[in-house]
C-alpha cells in the first residue's frame, strides 16, 4: 500500500477548506475563522488575521465591495448574508493590540524599485521590505495613496498605511516621476504600479496575468495599471512581492505561484435556525456586542456530512483525511517502536457506504477501512479473533451446508438464498424455491457469497470462494442468479460481475401466482444498507407488502445499516449495540425486513420485525431468534430436504462424538451465551473433551466442573454440572483470545 493509494480516496474531500465566502475574496481571507474569533470577542487575534490577509485593514473594511456576501450560505436558508464589512470595522475598532507585522530576519542586499505609491505599490513595497530587501518607492506626487488621496476617508487610510509601514525600512522618493525605466538600471528588480492609465513604459502589452512579468526580464507589473480594481490591486501587490522574491532567489517567478483551491461548494444546513442580520442601533457602526452577535450568525460552513451522520465516525471524531493518513501510517507501524492508531475504527466500520451516500463528493470511507483490514490480514497483524466466529460460519456454509443443484442438471435460473435465510427459517428457502420451481426452470444454490471474508479482509478466502462459485455457475450453465439477500447480490456484482443477476422480490412481485397474506395492518419497511440504490428491489418489497394489505410508513432514512455490516460486533460490541438500538428506534411501527441478518439484529434489539417472505408466502410470523446451533441445524435441514428432493439422496452430516450429549441451560443464560457467539456445539465439544480426558477443574463451592478447549484463535470455557440422568447442566460459558502456554515455576 502506498500513501497515495489511501489519499486518492479522500482527495476530493473539502472538509476543513475555507468556506464558500472565501472563494470570492480577493485576498483569500479565511472568513469562517475570522468570524469565529469575532464571535468570541477575540478582537486582537481577529485584527492580526485580518491585517495579514488584507494588508491595509482600514482600506479593505471600508472599500471592499464584499463579494463574499454573494457566496454567503446564509442565503441558502433564506437569510441575509453576514455583514462582513461592519464586522471588519468593529474588529479594527475593538482590537486593543494593533501593531505592524515585524519580521526578525537579517537584511538582504538585493534591491527593488517600486514605481507608484498607490495601494498596489505600497502592498508590494511592504511585503518586500518585511523580507528585508532594499526597497525604494518612486512616486510622482508628494505622498502615498495614489487614487485614495482623493477619498473623503483618506485621513483614516493614511493613518492605516503609516501604521502598517511603521516596522519596515523603505526609501521614499516622493515628487520623483520616473521618466525612463533606464533610470532604475541599478536595481535588481522593478515593480511597475503606476495606477489606472499610468505610464506603462511600453510593457503593458507583454504583461503576464499570472506571473506579473513583462517582456523586460526584471520588470514586474501590476495593480490598477493592469486593470485591477482596488482590492485586487492590493492583493496583486502582495502576490507580486512573492513572485519577485522567487525571481530574486531562483531566477524564476513561477516558483511562487500556488493555485488556490476551489472552495465554492455549499453544504447542507439541515436544522439550522434562521437568524436576521443584526442592524447597528447607531445606524453606522456596530457596538462590540452587536458585532459579536452578527459574527455568531456565521454558520461556520464546513462539510462534515459523513461525520455528522455516521455513528462510527461521530464516535471516533476522526476526519476523512486523517483516517486516510492513518490507514497508511498503520501499515508502517512497527509494534516494537510505534502504535497503530486506527485499529478500533478499522474494525468498527459497518462498511455500509452510508458515508458515500451523504458525501457531496461520493467518498466511501469504508473503502479505506477495507484496505486497512486487507493489509492487516496480508501482513499477519490482524486481530483474527474478531472475525473468527463468522469465518467459521462461512466455512460451514461453504462446505458442510453448501448445496447446488438443478432439476435438470443445467438451469435457466438459480435461486441463491444466501447463508442465513434458511438458517433463520428453513421455510423461507424451501417454500420460495417451491414457488420459483413451479414457474421457472430454476435450480438452487445454497452457499455463502463470501461477505464474511470480505469484511474480515481475508481476500485469499474470498477469492477462493469466488472461484468456486464461478465454476459451480458454469457447471449449471451460467443461469440467472435470483438473490434473496442484497449483500449477496452486492458481492456478486463486485466479484462475479459476469454472472446475470435479479432480485427475488422483483420476481415475486411481478410474476404472480402468490397470495401474499398478513394479519399486519401497519408496518415500515427496513431496507438493508446493501440494497442502497437498488430501487427495483426496494420497490418490489413494498409492492409485496401492499398486496398483502399492509399500510406502509416510510422510515426517516432508508438503507441505514442495522449494525451487522462489517461484522463490528467482535471488534466493537458497544458500537454494534448502539447502532442496532438506534435503528430499532427509527419508528414505533413493526418493521418488515428482507435481509435475514437485519431481522435478527433488530429482533435481538427488542424490535418486532418480520421477513417480507413471511408476508409474500403467507407464512406464520414469529418474533423468535433461533440460537446459533439451531441455525446450523436449520441450514442442515434445508440441505437435507433439497438433496432428497433434487438428488434423491440422504444428507449425512459427519457425526461428532459430542453430538449425543444432552445439555440443559436456563433460558436467560442460553441467550446470554448466544450473544457471546458461543454455540451449544462449542460447549458440547468442551464438555465431551473434559469428560473423556478428565482434564477439568472441580469447584467445591457449587459442585460444578470447569473445563476449557482452545480452538483456532479462541479458548472456550464451560462451567457445568453433571446431573443424575447423564444430562449436563451448563452454568456458564466464556472465552478469551489470549493463549497461555502453561504455568512456570
Amino acid at each position: 500500500m502506498r500513501q497515495s493509494d489511501t489519499m486518492a480516496i479522500v482527495e476530493s474531500c473539502f472538509h476543513g477548506q475555507p468556506a464558500s465566502c472565501t472563494h470570492n475574496c480577493p485576498f483569500g481571507l479565511d472568513i469562517r475563522a475570522l468570524m469565529d474569533k469575532a464571535a468570541n470577542g477575540k478582537w486582537s487575534a481577529a485584527y492580526k488575521a485580518f491585517r495579514n490577509a488584507v494588508i491595509f485593514p482600514a482600506i479593505a473594511s471600508r472599500l471592499c465591495p464584499a463579494p463574499c456576501k454573494s457566496n454567503c450560505q446564509r442565503a441558502d436558508i433564506g437569510d441575509e448574508p453576514i455583514d462582513l464589512p461592519l464586522i471588519e470595522q468593529a474588529i479594527i475598532e475593538y482590537a486593543k493590540k494593533k501593531t505592524a507585522e515585524k519580521y526578525v530576519i537579517p537584511p538582504k542586499e538585493q534591491s527593488a524599485a517600486i514605481i507608484g505609491a498607490g495601494a498596489s505599490g505600497l502592498a508590494c513595497a511592504l511585503a518586500l521590505a518585511q523580507k528585508k530587501y532594499q526597497v525604494t518607492v518612486y512616486e510622482k506626487s508628494e505622498g502615498w495613496g495614489g487614487e485614495l488621496r482623493e477619498h473623503r476617508d483618506f485621513g483614516i487610510f493614511d493613518e492605516d498605511i503609516g501604521l502598517q509601514l511603521s516596522a519596515v525600512n523603505i526609501a521614499w522618493q516622493f515628487g520623483h516621476e520616473v521618466k525612463s525605466i533606464d533610470e532604475l538600471a541599478g536595481f535588481d528588480v522593478v515593480y511597475l504600479a503606476t495606477g489606472k492609465s499610468g505610464d506603462d513604459f511600453g510593457l503593458l502589452s507583454s504583461h503576464d496575468q499570472t506571473l506579473y512579468t513583462t517582456a523586460s526580464a526584471k520588470i514586474f507589473l501590476g495593480g490598477g495599471l493592469s486593470g485591477a480594481a482596488l482590492m485586487d490591486a492590493i492583493a496583486m501587490g502582495t502576490a507580486a512581492a512573492g513572485r519577485i522574491e522567487a525571481f530574486l532567489q531562483t531566477g524564476k517567478a513561477d516558483a511562487a505561484v500556488t493555485e488556490r483551491r476551489d472552495c465554492s461548494r455549499h453544504v447542507e444546513h439541515e436544522g439550522v435556525e434562521n437568524a436576521p442580520r443584526i442592524k447597528p442601533e447607531s445606524g453606522g457602526s456596530y457596538t462590540e456586542d452587536e458585532a459579536r452577535q452578527e459574527a455568531v450568525r456565521c454558520m461556520q460552513c464546513d462539510c462534515a456530512a459523513c461525520m455528522a451522520s455516521c455513528d462510527m465516525m461521530d464516535s471516533f471524531r476522526k476526519k476523512p483525511k486523517k483516517i486516510a493518513t492513518e490507514v497508511y501510517a498503520d501499515t508502517q507501524a512497527s509494534s516494537t517502536f510505534s502504535t497503530r492508531s486506527l485499529t478500533r475504527e478499522t474494525y468498527s466500520c459497518n462498511m455500509c457506504s452510508h458515508c458515500k451516500s451523504v458525501c457531496p463528493e461520493g467518498i466511501n470511507i469504508g473503502e479505506l477501512f477495507a484496505m486497512s483490514r486487507r493489509n492487516r490480514v496480508e501482513t499477519g497483524v490482524a486481530p483474527f479473533a474478531l472475525h473468527d466466529y463468522w469465518l467459521r460460519e462461512m466455512d460451514f456454509h461453504t462446505n458442510v451446508a453448501a448445496f447446488a443443484a438443478a432439476p435438470n442438471e443445467k438451469c435457466e435460473y438459480i435461486f441463491y438464498p444466501g447463508c442465513q435465510l434458511g438458517a433463520y427459517n428453513p421455510a423461507h428457502v424451501l417454500k420460495t424455491y417451491e414457488h420459483l420451481k413451479s414457474r421457472l426452470d430454476c435450480g438452487i444454490y445454497v452457499g455463502c457469497c463470501g461477505a464474511p471474508a470480505f469484511w474480515a479482509g481475508d481476500y485469499e478466502r474470498l477469492n477462493a470462494n469466488v472461484d468456486y462459485i464461478r465454476k459451480s455457475a458454469e457447471a449449471l450453465g451460467n443461469p440467472v442468479f435470483i438473490f434473496a439477500c442484497a449483500t449477496c447480490e452486492t458481492m456478486f456484482s463486485e466479484y462475479l460481475p459476469e454472472l446475470k443477476r435479479t432480485s427475488l422480490y422483483e420476481l415475486l412481485a411481478d410474476s404472480g401466482g402468490l397470495k401474499p397474506g398478513s394479519a399486519l395492518t401497519d408496518a415500515a419497511v427496513f431496507d438493508p444498507c446493501s440494497a442502497r440504490g437498488d430501487d427495483g428491489m426496494m420497490g418490489a418489497v413494498r409492492r409485496l407488502a401492499s398486496a398483502a394489505g399492509v399500510r406502509l410508513e416510510e422510515l426517516p432514512e432508508r438503507n441505514r445499516c442495522c449494525g451487522y455490516g462489517g461484522l463490528v460486533q467482535g471488534g466493537n460490541p458497544g458500537m454494534f449495540k448502539k447502532v442496532a438500538d438506534s435503528r430499532a428506534k427509527m419508528s414505533d411501527k413493526l418493521y418488515i425486513a428482507y435481509c435475514a441478518n437485519c431481522r435478527e439484529v433488530l429482533l435481538s434489539s427488542g424490535k418486532d420485525c418480520v421477513h417480507i417472505l413471511d408476508i409474500a408466502l403467507g407464512l406464520p410470523q414469529s418474533m423468535e431468534v433461533p440460537a446459533i446451533s439451531e441455525r446450523r441445524r436449520n441450514s442442515s435441514f434445508v440441505k437435507t430436504e433439497l438433496m432428497r428432493e433434487l438428488e434423491d439422496e440422504v444428507f449425512k452430516i459427519k457425526p461428532q462424538p459430542w453430538d449425543g450429549l444432552a445439555l440443559v441451560i436456563e433460558k436467560g443464560l442460553a441467550e446470554d451465551i448466544d450473544r457471546k457467539l458461543i454455540s451449544e456445539d462449542d460447549m458440547k465439544e468442551v464438555i465431551w473433551n473434559a469428560e473423556s480426558s478428565g482434564e477439568k477443574f472441580f469447584d467445591e463451592a457449587d459442585e460444578s466442573f470447569v473445563a476449557c478447549l482452545s480452538r483456532r484463535v479462541l479458548t472456550y470455557w464451560v462451567k457445568y454440572r453433571v446431573l443424575p440422568d447423564g444430562v449436563f447442566e451448563v452454568c456458564g460459558a466464556y472465552y478469551h483470545r489470549m493463549s497461555f502456554s502453561g504455568a512456570g515455576e
Binding site: E700, H736, G742
Partner: protein, 63 residues
C-alpha cells in the same frame, strides 16, 4: 469466583497462583493465575477472562 475451593480433578490438588506465560497479537508476557501445583494446568476464572484479560486483549489489538 473464589478459586481457593477449586481443584484439578486429575491431580486432586487445590489451585495455587503461579506465573504463567501468555501470548496475544505477537506479544508475550507473564501473569500470576490459578494453576494446578502438580500438573500446571491453568485455570482462567470468568471474571478474569471477561474483565482484565478482555481489556488487555483490546489494548494489544490496538497496538
Amino acid at each position: 469466583m473464589d478459586t481457593g475451593r477449586i481443584k484439578c480433578v486429575l491431580c486432586n490438588e487445590g489451585l495455587v497462583q503461579k506465573k504463567t506465560l501468555f501470548e496475544y497479537m505477537g506479544r508475550n508476557f507473564s501473569h500470576e493465575v490459578p494453576c494446578c501445583p502438580k500438573c500446571g494446568k491453568v485455570f482462567i476464572p470468568p471474571e478474569l477472562a471477561e474483565g482484565r484479560m478482555a481489556e488487555v486483549e483490546e489494548q494489544l489489538e490496538d497496538k
